[in-house]
Symmetry: D2
Subunit: 429 residues, 4 copies
Amino acid sequence: MTISNPKTDLNVFENYESEVRSYSRSFPTIFDKAKGYQLWDKNGNEYIDFFAGAGALNYGHNDDAMQQKLTEYIQRDGLLHSLDMATNPRAEFLQQFNEVILKPRDMDYKIMFPGPTGTNTVESALKIARKVTNREKVVTFTNAFHGMTIGALSVTGNAFKRHGAGIPLPYSMVMPFDDYMDHFDSLTYLEKMIDDDGSGVDLPAAVILETVQGEGGINAASFEWLKRVEELCRRRDILLIVDDVQAGCGRTGTFFSFEQAGISPDVICLSKSISGSGLPMAITLIKPEYDIWGPGEHNGTFRGNNLAFVTASEALNHWKTNEFSDSILNKSELFKKRLNQFVEEYPELQGKVQGRGLMLGISSEKEGLSGQLAQAAFERGLIIETSGPDDEVLKILPPLIIDEEGIEKGLDIIEESIKAVLGKEEAKV
Amino acid sequence: MTISNPKTDLNVFENYESEVRSYSRSFPTIFDKAKGYQLWDKNGNEYIDFFAGAGALNYGHNDDAMQQKLTEYIQRDGLLHSLDMATNPRAEFLQQFNEVILKPRDMDYKIMFPGPTGTNTVESALKIARKVTNREKVVTFTNAFHGMTIGALSVTGNAFKRHGAGIPLPYSMVMPFDDYMDHFDSLTYLEKMIDDDGSGVDLPAAVILETVQGEGGINAASFEWLKRVEELCRRRDILLIVDDVQAGCGRTGTFFSFEQAGISPDVICLSKSISGSGLPMAITLIKPEYDIWGPGEHNGTFRGNNLAFVTASEALNHWKTNEFSDSILNKSELFKKRLNQFVEEYPELQGKVQGRGLMLGISSEKEGLSGQLAQAAFERGLIIETSGPDDEVLKILPPLIIDEEGIEKGLDIIEESIKAVLGKEEAKV
Amino acid sequence: MTISNPKTDLNVFENYESEVRSYSRSFPTIFDKAKGYQLWDKNGNEYIDFFAGAGALNYGHNDDAMQQKLTEYIQRDGLLHSLDMATNPRAEFLQQFNEVILKPRDMDYKIMFPGPTGTNTVESALKIARKVTNREKVVTFTNAFHGMTIGALSVTGNAFKRHGAGIPLPYSMVMPFDDYMDHFDSLTYLEKMIDDDGSGVDLPAAVILETVQGEGGINAASFEWLKRVEELCRRRDILLIVDDVQAGCGRTGTFFSFEQAGISPDVICLSKSISGSGLPMAITLIKPEYDIWGPGEHNGTFRGNNLAFVTASEALNHWKTNEFSDSILNKSELFKKRLNQFVEEYPELQGKVQGRGLMLGISSEKEGLSGQLAQAAFERGLIIETSGPDDEVLKILPPLIIDEEGIEKGLDIIEESIKAVLGKEEAKV
Amino acid sequence: MTISNPKTDLNVFENYESEVRSYSRSFPTIFDKAKGYQLWDKNGNEYIDFFAGAGALNYGHNDDAMQQKLTEYIQRDGLLHSLDMATNPRAEFLQQFNEVILKPRDMDYKIMFPGPTGTNTVESALKIARKVTNREKVVTFTNAFHGMTIGALSVTGNAFKRHGAGIPLPYSMVMPFDDYMDHFDSLTYLEKMIDDDGSGVDLPAAVILETVQGEGGINAASFEWLKRVEELCRRRDILLIVDDVQAGCGRTGTFFSFEQAGISPDVICLSKSISGSGLPMAITLIKPEYDIWGPGEHNGTFRGNNLAFVTASEALNHWKTNEFSDSILNKSELFKKRLNQFVEEYPELQGKVQGRGLMLGISSEKEGLSGQLAQAAFERGLIIETSGPDDEVLKILPPLIIDEEGIEKGLDIIEESIKAVLGKEEAKV
């Protein structure tokens, strides 16, 4: 299959929308409908989704049950906007999240609604860590991505995004992520820098990390590294913040991405798929002893996106048994097997398979190759993006509800794209 | 009428939600339904809304046409989440906003979707101003409120919120707002501070202001002051940012709050009521010559809240003629007349009526009085909040679509509340 | 008299010294000898000194007694350098300063040697204020000058010097100095900004001020303003730092410049003339309850400039009676009388006499005029500089030991220069 | 020999001087006279100097020729203080420095007088690097020491000193010094962090380093590491600043500490021994193409310490031949031989000899031992201090002019002290 006429009618975006727009450039078509793991554009072209709203659509597009709850809620004049006033959907979400997620995992956290975006939960996490410890600096890691507002951007690694701040970004200290450099024990380095009174590294308020770096190139930290970071934090009274915005909500196979590592973060950031439906929502989980906010000390107009709460409660039903979790891990194996085949069969890719669960990628040492693959795949009906500082990773992030047929179809397109791109490369030579 | 049993079932919020929650404390009941300018709680109590989601519900709750469009869009499997990919609702909004709002006003701006919250549009505005000018500092004004993320918080006045940052907030310089001090020409002072090479005030990238300060106490800048600020900005190549998040979208009678002042800001921030329905959405308007973003230089997961776009386009239909605008100004007169009566009839209020359009307030010099009034009003079925650094202003922010009956009912409750609170005060003595 | 050949041999400076050099440009000759209030260059030209090392030579050049003590100390192998180890001259200075200066004024302060420059004492003052209060921001005033290192530069007003930092200068908040603007009660403004929880002005660690701004244009604060600043500091637990580097050591007639105002600063910065001889030295006076430094928490290689201690103790002998103080005030009257005559007789100057004690100036509204006067005066044998943000003030800062003959001679040169410059101006027309 | 009564008369320091005083605590006696490598206290006790004013007395105390020049200059009424006006000693120094130091080494630099302290030259170096590159961040290294004013402190490692700032210290990024961690290629790490666009390390204005870290624990960088740092700087247009305040002026055997490494820094900071006599002085050397200061953009009252210039020119005579340099290297061998013997003979020291030239140290892994040795040595007539983040290094920094007798005497005292301290330790057990 080849996609027909995708570029129709994009001039309204070119004329009226800011130069900052990005995905309407990579996927130059107007999308019309979506269901499950599929999208259709205005020209009737069908696409498989290996992108999932950058992790915001773990449960796929337009889940039937969610659609029904949304229309019911709208039709019965439920409040759409309510700041942080008490509403039924808010109450229901609080209860459901406690019963389905926290209690079974023996986790005790207060739930904060910091505003409905990932950067908002990160900003609130940094604030509370600074308030609790009365310190300013925060340790972040190479290739971290935490958001675009100044607080979150300060702990983000990407030079292009950082430069966009227009101001020096202070109060963060960047350390090497788990396997940042070969033959280098990054954790011992971190410990030495924190413990050494002459290092120039001030005792931080917090360490913030993603267990699997999404935007930074699908880098999965080892469980041992995560445990040692936690130990360091405990030993020096540093708060451990896990930004589970992209890796959480089941993306790695368990609800939280750190469950298998056996760590207990002090603050957890969730957004993207927390609403289940792709509607804007974020929460910050804070250990009760650190929930020392004054009322309204951090606020925002859209802390009460009730439509998001409605679908969020529905989405959590997936987690009442282990079935969903098991299915993710099974699908992960399917993916990894095939991706490893690609790497072996096409050595010209200079590729390496990375990641955990359904947060996977093929990293290629060939400059520009991953971008060409993503474009070739789009032309063949697959939505897929790249990540990493040099866009060197083809990032595979399908909806978790994808079925085997979808998986195989998508992977077939990837393989076709590999052939096409490598063929073109050869042809050049 | 007196509200019955409002406090039922709030323990789920107390048990599970963070201490940061605020409005569920001021309005301690669970809200169930809302339509137009009215809300009902779970116990069947009816409330009139003089709060309007802090300005996010200018078109009232659950407008019929919007409800219908929402359910249609959901039922036809329209994309709910799409990052910043091209979708029909996004295209429609871009066109509608240009045709209904920008063109008729001879305004030429590129539209940016910076993430769906007010603080996000402010962060993007500050970034672009710094990028354009290659300067860091931004002039802000006393009692300004621009948001809770570190960039926006840096230009926010409130000490309690600022303190929540946990870090010193740099790169802003605070100047006195229009009539901050009696007998003081604040603009001449600002000019002198900017122009004087010995003042210690660095040449700023931008001046950011609200034409009517909402959270800061319903302080309306004079048109002359706004003109002079614009002139100063032009003279020194400083960008003028108007944060119209609360005062825009018709709140003061015109779509933008600055139309009557005749100024032409370089960057305009809109959020709150831009979606029409209270769903999270924000846009940043940037003069084309300053739209020098790189693709994706500022991004975010929820730049494409399509449900919000659907209702946003519908809402803009209000602005195709002058009727809506005229009605707001008429209602404003009704309010002001009655509020002024209150101030005259109840001198114990030590009150002063402030504001423009339907962004009004009674400022009271009596410590704590406005808060008591708001509470008394809630007990009588009116949702109303206070603002100002000492919560000294009873803030009147009804949906713009409110009718005369609603206005009178709400004002009657305010008058009853005044009597009750002053009576209690007297009784104390 | 006209100066002959002043520009000889300056090429060594042009060839080898950095472009940053300044006074060797304004006074382009090589100085050979100096005594009292006079200097001689290599060509034998004689100059009267109305500059006094920018306030570092209050006791004139090469005081006989100081010269003798210096040579004795050197010849007996006294330690020249001793870090902050105990030496005789250090002990003697500590005792002498306590007995001659502090005790008679009922002042109780610990003496810190922060490094031998003005900027060093300011940096130490800011540090201790932040340590004591656990706050970061410091209030400074328009046209303040406190030094060139980043901490001191942050509280300095001059745009050119600030720009030299190459980084945004944070943690300071600039407020209008006493009579910064006509018809404007700057102190009420300051109080309101500090007291108002919505102003955006964070509660500061300290207020730092010069009672007479030297570099900023010879602006003398009124005693009432100083008293009110002190009251504000007391009320809000803000430390009051007086930077008496230029205005102290007798420059305004009393040893400290604030004695007549009757205030009691928490921290006092002294440098420039504290050594008596122009040798590098600085001290920071700290109220004992705030002297909470850890040993070595602020240090520096040249905290023990023993030659400076030797002359400093000698210089303090001037303060054992009131005679010296009285003589300064008498000379001040002589100066002011004549300067006021100039302003009256030459209205083309558009001049105003400013300052206190022997820290005086004629401020001229005519752009560039003061600089022309200083140059004309130099050509006639008078060393004099300008100050103020636009170099609009002819700054009169003679050694305090100058006699009547010197005063009249210097003032005659100024009058000649006025005539010459105004004549040239006329001739142009 | 044992020192008698050293603690006499120290109460004047305890009563009047700030708690910040430090060396008068470690060496609790009042010093009276000094010559060459010896000092005498008021009680007639004699001390050998292995401290040399922390590197400010490389030419020893009270060199005869310098003393004579000083007294002559004073007696002929030479200017003591002259801001940065042209004087004979300033001209002479400029010429002498060019002819004796720069030209023979084929070095082309402009000479800046930034104020007479080490921290001042560092502040000026950071400023000019930021001005040249228009960037803010500066890379500094673990255990670096560059000074106590905010700019210099920002690039200093010591936690205690940093904490004294009372504000977060921004705009610096700390990287591991040469052999900071075993089995870790710190330079490859630095390169990767700088080159990687995702690292979060912003492209810096400059790298600042000491070739031998003095306060940080006598850590000598390898010449290869220095070369590679220089290459990295060249490749990315980063300025290389060598802070040669402590390691320069012959301390490591050559005039500049980096000569043997064959690198060519863009900016060089000199102070401490640059005056030769211990009088306050500092210079900043800037490659002509980077000398883009505006006149007076960085200034200071004591840029013209003429007495320091007088002795500085005299001191440079040492460098007219290679004799002085050779003698330093010979003495270094004497020291190293004997120090290595100590380490071998007294394994309880758990010691390691570190450093280059006459900047040496014994690092001991035994907590507190080096401090005990320094104290024991003082009691036996040797002035010696410790350095390193945990004061774990006994720092040997004799005047470069010390003779063999002095060396042996001093080393004998160290050996006695080792025996005494280890004996006491044993006795404890």
